[in-house]
């Protein structure tokens, strides 16, 4: 049986603003399983990146984790010392960012940057680390790595840069790899190549991948499990095939209905009415009540908790059994 290598539990992130404290991530929980891809799916602004930043410890100074835990190989990252975190950053946990150009330092050759993880964690000589860098470049599919190792980031195309970033992230064989919209900035063909590379590397190195995206098609193709987020909350989790074929939360259902492939030709494309609530005015009951077609009094009064609705599936809705009808 597959085991969770990283468990996020009740993760809550608050942002200090001049107008008071905002809760950007509220009680988020999910498990990352070795060799599997978990998709964190949600609209822009729902707190996906904030969750990832909280996990890797890169939150803005204005934001902080106010409760919850992120347990990775027995260590809680939220309470771990800086020293411990530094030791785990790279060999245990790594992240691929969306914007590959700004994630690489413009004044160093890519070889120097790819060698850095080896130099820090394995205390390799610069020559040995450079050899590892060339090997990594070859592995992620960069042509002529021996001659390209001394080139600077701006001399690579966007797709190649994203490959370099992935190379840097997987350099030390992390247990968990987070990927925050790794292909959003790329065109479709390159996107497919990058996702294929990520999948190959995941299988080869038996990593748990957490894929953050707002792209339903990507989730359908790439992920094994999905956690749907809305306004800082996880509203539904489960295996992708099950969730997409039989959603148990009105928001998931709405999302799926807004995708063209699910609609017969000629019929109207449904879209979810309204917009996600502003962080400053999240209602006290269900977070989705303002846009939910099933909403009623109980939804205003009481916030639904994420509860099991079927084997391996959970949803945060009082009336989830009505959704599939």
């Amino acid at each position: 049986m597959s085991t969770a290598v990283m468990s996020v539990h009740d993760l809550t992130v608050d942002i200090e603003t001049p107008n008071g404290r905002l809760r950007a991530v509220d009680g988020v929980g999910f498990d990352a399983v070795q060799g599997e891809t978990l998709a964190l799916l949600g609209e822009s602004g729902c707190g996906k990146s904030m969750t990832a930043q909280a996990i890797v410890g890169l939150l803005d100074p204005v934001a902080s984790v106010s409760s919850g835990s992120v347990v990775l190989n027995g260590t809680d990252l939220v309470t771990a010392s800086r020293r411990k975190r530094r030791a785990m950053a790279g060999p245990e946990l790594a992240i691929v960012f969306q914007d590959a150009l700004t994630a690489l330092n413009p004044v160093y050759t890519v070889g120097t940057q790819l060698a850095e993880p080896f130099r820090i964690h394995r205390r390799m000589s610069s020559r040995a680390a450079r050899a590892e860098a060339v090997e990594l470049m070859r592995r992620v599919g960069i042509p002529h790595p021996e001659s390209r190792v001394d080139a600077y980031p701006h001399q690579f195309s966007g797709g190649m840069r994203q490959r370099l970033l992935i190379a840097m992230a997987v350099a030390l064989n992390p247990t968990v790899l987070l990927a925050d919209e790794p292909t959003t900035a790329l065109d479709v063909t390159v996107q497919a190549q990058i996702m294929a590379l990520l999948k190959e590397l995941r299988n080869e190195r038996e990593m748990a991948v957490v894929l953050i995206t707002h792209d339903l098609a990507l989730v359908a193709e790439e992920a094994d499990k999905v956690a749907v987020m809305y306004a800082g909350h996880v509203v539904e989790t489960g295996a992708v095939a099950e969730v997409f074929s039989d959603p148990q939360h009105p928001y998931t259902k709405g999302l799926l209905e807004s995708v063209p492939v699910h609609v017969a030709r000629g019929s109207d494309l449904a879209s979810i009415g309204g917009t996600p609530p502003d962080l400053a005015s999240i209602p006290s009951g269900c977070v989705y009540q303002a846009r939910c077609p099933l909403a009623r009094d109980r939804c205003v009064a009481e916030r639904p908790v994420l509860h099991q609705v079927a084997k391996g599936r959970a949803a945060a809705c009082h009336y989830s059994e009505e959704v599939s009808r």
Partner: protein, 323 residues
């Protein structure tokens, strides 16, 4: 496919040799480097040859006009009120000037930059405290502070350097802090953190190389300011003590004779300006040369380094990259 603006054929100009070659292609920067090298050589070895002549008084030949070779090449730049050779004094003064200005600039550059980068990187209370201290130093008129300090302590060379350095530290501190605060929020710094790089290593590896060109440019401009501050202090009698002489002191001493003997102030002033301008030119060249994305511009001939040349290079580079 994604096309990328690739630098034409300049993928590996990282070695020292290539930098030299790059410098030689730019005749303005080469000239500036030669001037600086010449000044440094004169300061190092010149006083050995003309040390005595610089002190030699000859009241019969006082305030002699420049550009007359009749009384020997030493007086080609004229003589001062005591009949001493201006050229010889310039040479002797170059050593004093550089031995005060260079250490003062370097000291303030190193201290200011290190503290500034540290404060900017960590933000928060460390930043606030450091910036308030910088404000206090800056709000104190630097000349007044120098006067007070040098009046209390003896006006030795070392004290002069120290005072000049302290008054100039905030300049670097502010620049370094501002840039570092901006850089620490960049994604590549985050990326370095995600594989466990220590803060100190991030500051030296990711912040310093990017801030350094700016700091060097500030330092070369400040070089001029420090030389002039030194001259003011020397003029007030608390800087360089006669019979020692610096360029600044020569300008200051010559000021009284401006109507009758312009050359007394003009030549040391010219020396200050030429040295500073050369340093500035070299710094702005270095700024381009150390930026991998800009470096290729330097490979274009200077005259054509205008829009046309760049456009043509861009066109050449825009042929789709073979992936």
């Amino acid at each position: 496919m994604t096309a990328v603006l690739e630098a034409p054929s300049e993928s590996r100009v990282s070695s020292q040799v290539a930098l030299w070659r790059l410098l030689l292609r730019d005749w303005v920067a080469t000239g500036a480097a030669l001037v600086l090298a010449f000044v440094a050589l004169v300061a190092a070895f010149g006083p050995m040859f003309v040390g005595d002549e610089a002190a030699q008084q000859n009241l019969l030949d006082a305030n002699a006009e420049p550009f007359r070779l009749s009384d020997g090449w030493l007086n080609v730049l004229g003589t001062d009120a005591l009949g001493r050779s201006v050229l010889a004094r310039l040479i002797v003064a170059s050593r004093t000037t550089l031995s005060v200005a260079v250490p003062a600039v370097l000291l303030s550059l190193v201290i200011g930059s290190l503290i500034g980068m540290w404060a900017g990187y960590h933000r928060g209370r460390r930043e606030t405290v450091v910036m308030r201290i910088a404000d206090i130093i800056l709000s104190f008129p630097s000349l007044l502070m120098a006067v007070v300090v040098l009046y209390i302590f003896s006006p030795s060379s070392a004290n002069l350097i120290l005072v000049l350095a302290i008054t100039r530290i905030p300049i670097y501190l502010r620049t370094a802090r501002a840039e570092s605060a901006e850089l620490q929020s960049r994604l590549f710094v985050d990326a370095a953190r995600t594989f466990g790089t220590r803060s100190s290593a991030i500051i030296f590896r990711h912040v310093l190389p990017i801030v350094l060109p700016t700091l060097l440019t500030v330092a070369t401009l400040d070089f001029c300011f420090v030389m002039l501050s030194e001259s003011s202090l020397s003029f007030l009698g608390i800087g360089i003590q006669p019979p020692s002489v610096s360029w600044g002191l020569m300008v200051a001493q010559g000021r009284t004779y401006l109507q009758t003997a312009w050359w007394l102030s003009f030549f040391p002033g010219l020396a200050i300006v030429v040295t500073t301008v050369s340093a500035t030119i070299l710094a702005s060249w270095a700024r381009l040369a150390t930026d991998p994305a800009q470096r290729w511009r330097l490979t274009l001939p200077r005259g054509r380094r205008g829009r046309r040349a760049i456009r043509r290079a861009a066109e050449k580079a825009l042929t789709p990259e073979v992936q």
